[in-house]
């Protein structure tokens, strides 16, 4: 751009090219720049129009609505920070949902992230021919995901003796009567976490696999010259620095997924769950927007959730050394 600027100036005294816009005025110059880059803007336009209409405006509208009482039927009524005050001070259920979500995110987030990274790394150590098979084995649960819940996991953890886990434990004599897995408060969250971890090797995992196989083999040779011999050393000195971009990408997906957990909880423990042991922020939000039509309050919950995710995302950007 700066180059273009000097070019324009040097052209001026000679024979100024005939242009549709008067480039010597600020508005004209801007318009001229837009026209000059018309192909760039034209190509990004469909994406950004869809993005603005279906992502950005809803988010901005949610932020605005969080300061109103709004039930869709009547006009919004300004209430200031009342929604937020109620959220953090009076709504005991929100605090329950908040702590459940945090509990889930703190355990599943890092565990699943490390699983993705190391399974991908291990897969990269295996012969080339086996790689696709391993990738399929680990990625298939993420593909199947929610569909499998009712057919497999609810049968495994069924509360009666028909359940696989109960029947195995009964046969082994470890328990004398069936354990009520899905309605016992202490077991609900751990079961949700196990099932989540099982199906959590998703996009981030694929990104890691691709990242590792994209590492230039010459780098390993160069490292070997510098005395790097073991797999572990290669991981530290070559693989980790080389896969930083994938680490950031996977971290963002991981953070977003962990904090917005909801569907899997209601599928496993029902909604409402026993003593709200599986209530998460997303489910709480859904109650207010979809059931009670208290859109203003639901929007306040959405804003809190978004701020949490963006805040953690910011940390990830810092941690993985991106300029952004």
């Amino acid at each position: 751009m700066a180059k273009e600027n000097t070019e324009l100036k040097s052209q001026k005294p000679a024979a100024p090219k005939k242009r549709f816009f008067n480039v010597e005025k600020k508005f004209g110059y801007t318009m001229h720049e837009i026209w000059r880059n018309k192909m760039s803007y034209g190509l990004v336009a469909p994406f950004f129009i869809a993005f603005i209409i279906f992502s950005l405006i809803p988010l901005v509208a949610s932020t605005a609505l969080s300061f109103f009482y709004y039930n869709i039927l009547q006009d919004p009524k300004w209430v200031g920070f009342d929604n937020y005050q109620y959220l953090f001070v009076d709504d005991a259920l929100f605090l329950k949902a908040f702590s459940n979500t945090l509990y889930y995110a703190v355990i599943v987030g890092p565990t699943s992230y490390l699983m993705q990274y190391f399974f991908a790394w291990f897969i990269n150590q295996t012969p080339k021919k086996l790689k696709p098979l391993y990738v399929l084995c680990f990625y298939a649960p993420a593909l199947a995901g929610g569909v499998m819940l009712s057919v497999v996991w609810l049968v495994i953890f069924a509360n009666d003796s028909q359940g696989y886990l109960n029947s195995i434990l009964l046969n082994m004599g470890l328990i004398s009567e069936p354990v009520q897995w899905l309605i016992t408060v202490d077991y609900i969250m751990p079961i949700i976490i196990i099932v989540s971890l099982w199906s959590s090797l998703g996009t981030g995992f694929l990104s890691f696999v691709a990242g590792f196989s994209g590492v230039d083999t010459e780098l390993y040779d160069a490292a070997a010259v510098d005395g790097v011999t073991s797999r572990f050393q290669k991981l530290i000195y070559v693989d980790i620095p080389q896969t930083m971009p994938q680490m950031l990408f996977a971290a963002i997906l991981q953070i977003t997924g962990a904090f917005s957990v909801g569907g899997i909880c209601s599928a496993i423990a029902g909604h409402p769950s026993p003593e709200d042991a599986a209530l998460t922020i997303m489910l709480h939000l859904g109650d207010y927007s979809g059931q009670r039509f208290e859109v203003g309050y639901a929007s306040a919950i959405a804003v809190v959730l978004t701020v949490m995710i963006l805040g953690c995302g910011r940390l990830a950007f810092k941690a993985f050394g991106d300029k952004g």
Binding site: M1, F54, P132, I156, R231
Partner: protein, 289 residues
């Protein structure tokens, strides 16, 4: 001297092989564990009624049968909408969405990666931030907008609101960043127009990345049920995913439900297997750095 070096290398190679094999075996075990629920789902889909309620439960079907699938078809026998209609809708929506989304994403990623224009950086920063937006959290404003645009009760409601796939554009852009600019400069010197650079160089180079985006998005759109439940009032326009959800789960309907699950996940997995081999293969040989 040379002898010693050779010996050392041999031993090192042998050692590497041992740990490599150990990794392969351990991974195989973990992979099998990870697949078990899927295999169970697969075998349950073919179990006859008496085996579904066998106690203690069996993992594999002893007398495999297709009855669960015919039961599944029978569910729609009494309704106005046949099973084939749901399947047709889902195929149309999946193809339409993937085509439109890939088109829009491929268009957007090229200037973001290879052009220099005012606002480019803020656009890309917006995309990376937007990957952290949770669409479900802003469902009500989205609902009002989609209604205002008269999208409900058309195929478009499945396609248009999801067009802006931020993760897709991000991945495509990152992929294109790795393609050296010299290729495009060479094209320019040979007299190619900007449009030709885009269609003749950039798009063919992005095939792998496009395949990857299709893999990532396929499951979501093939199993689509939320939009069908919220925005479609005409049962004729609803999807397979929505219909499968109405069958119900748990022990009582385990057979039909497992058959339904299989129909939902099998295309996704086949899609992945087909595209994965392509992606892996081309990635190994493309050598673009």
């Amino acid at each position: 001297m040379a002898q010693v070096d050779l010996d050392y290398l041999k031993r090192a190679k042998k050692r590497r092989d041992v740990s490599g094999k150990a990794i392969a075996i351990v991974l195989g075990i973990f992979g099998l564990i990870s697949l078990l629920p899927l295999i169970y789902c697969f075998s349950t889909a073919f179990k006859p009624l008496d085996e579904l309620f066998l106690y203690p439960p069996r993992f594999f079907a002893m007398k495999p049968t297709l009855k669960n699938f015919s039961d599944l078809m029978a569910v729609t026998a009494n309704t106005t909408v046949p099973f084939s209609r749901y399947l047709f809708n889902t195929v149309i929506i999946t193809v339409g969405y993937l085509f439109a989304m890939i088109l829009v994403s491929t268009m957007a990623c090229y200037p973001l990666s290879k052009h220099n224009f005012p606002g480019k950086n803020i656009m890309f920063k917006t995309i990376t931030t937007a990957m952290m937006f949770v669409a479900a959290a802003t469902a009500v404003p989205s609902y009002l907008i989609i209604n205002a645009l008269h999208l409900p009760n058309t195929y478009f409601v499945y396609i248009i609101p999801g067009l802006a796939n931020t993760t897709g554009v991000f991945l495509l852009k990152q992929f294109l960043d790795q393609v050296p600019n010299e290729i495009f400069e060479a094209g320019k010197i040979d007299g190619a127009t900007e449009w030709q650079l885009y269609t003749k160089i950039a798009i063919p180079l992005m095939r792998n990345a496009q395949a990857t985006i299709i893999i990532l998005s396929f499951g979501g759109i093939w199993g689509e049920s939320g939009t069908a439940a919220t925005y479609i009032y005409d049962e004729q326009l609803r999807t397979l995913g929505w219909f499968m959800g109405t069958i119900g789960g748990g022990l009582a309907r385990a057979g039909a439900s497992a058959a339904a699950s299989l129909i939902m996940i099998l295309p996704t997995i086949i899609m992945f297997v087909v595209q994965q081999s392509k992606v892996m293969d081309t990635m190994a040989h493309s050598g673009i750095k």
